[in-house]
Symmetry: C2
DNA sequence: GACTGCATGTAACGAGTTACATGATTGG
DNA sequence: CCAATCATGTAACTCGTTACATGCAGTC
């Protein structure tokens, strides 16, 4: 149910086509939410049906067309309602930790390679989130500049502050994942050092 | 696609009915994966169809029945295959961070209450995971004792070690979330201190 | 003329949520 | 006998993934 709010919040910065929204979501660093275009186009039409956004269609060639969506006053109100609403915390469902719990079903080499993949992935994530947080802090992102125009000056510190805090948090979270996986590598080391034999298969 | 492996791994410790699997998943601390019974029963039947588990049906009254499922050799092989397979990292989709990014749409009181709810939730999570990690480390969980019977003694350190590492990691992750939300409260404090006026609404 | 990027869609499927529904067993 | 717990299911729905599909615009 968060996709719609991600869309509304994006469109409040700048009216956009479904295509460019999809691009923002794809270059994952720039956004806390991911969605493929096959989800975005229908949702935009739904939002339009509810009067939360409005689409301005423009012809493109003979049959083609592109629609730039912008937020309506009702859409802005819906955004405020959502921000004020308590957030639901989804139940935990983490494939990497689930597997980490059962690494005894593989050998030490596999455990190592799982933790190394974890490190690689989250180092890359941390790099991206950090870069984005820095861009925001330096007021270097195009979207942020557009947002500033929509807000009175005394609110600019909050507009950027909340975003920087969120993206730094994501970067930190990724670094914590890296630290955890490094701990996993050390664990494998210890287990292997005290071995009676190589990770024996089940009897 | 991870639900099936959570089921297989549970059943390797102890043959169970769908009902007791659901209970394990519900008392979320004890498990890294959550699923309602409406998902579990059909999946067990699917797994049985694929020969990965086998169900022993037992009569319960005239019409009732209960089925205890246990892992087959093929199921154990599938579990090993999954553990050896590279893990996919899902794209980021975090409702709490999405909202944290847009707290300027609400007032400072709301921002505080959002961060406080975040703290409450993750403190509770940390408490549960820590408790479970401690129980595992002390070999005090019933399931772990059953698992030990299935593994040669030189593997026991690994069986418990991986699990403790995973649950401690989850506890640490929850504490990191708490720290992030506390940082959020400080941010609100700073923003409010430098205010020209209360969080002004949009022009 | 071919390739890349812009732009939009559908359809099938799998995963997860919520609600509804039924009945058995155990213990007070 | 009543409540709690054990036990199993279905149905409708939403959300998300993957693949297929089409066409325009600019440029090398």
């Amino acid at each position: 149910m968060s996709l719609r709010y991600a869309l509304l919040a994006l469109l409040d910065a700048e009216p956009m086509t479904g295509y460019s929204i999809a691009k923002h979501f794809d270059q994952s660093a720039a956004y806390v939410w991911h969605a493929p275009h096959s989800q975005i186009y229908p949702e935009l039409r739904r939002l339009e049906g509810e009067g939360l956004v409005e689409g301005a269609a423009e012809a493109r060639g003979d049959r083609g067309s592109k629609t730039t969506y912008f937020l309506t006053e009702a859409g802005r109100a819906e955004l405020r309602r959502w921000v004020a609403e308590p957030t639901q915390f989804p139940p935990v469902r983490d494939a990497a930790y689930l597997k980490a719990t059962y690494l005894e079903y593989g050998d030490y080499a596999n455990a190592r390679s799982q933790f190394r993949a974890h490190i690689r992935h989250h180092e890359e994530m941390a790099r991206r989130w950090d870069a984005h947080a820095a861009d925001l802090a330096n007021h270097e992102t195009a979207l942020l500049k557009l947002r500033f125009k929509e807000w009175p000056e005394e609110m600019h510190a909050a507009v950027v502050g909340y975003k920087v805090h969120a993206y730094r948090g994501l970067a930190q979270r990724a670094r914590d994942e890296v630290a955890w996986a490094r701990g996993g590598l050390e664990l494998v080391e210890r287990l292997e050092a005290t071995r009676y034999g190589q990770a024996s298969p089940r009897p």
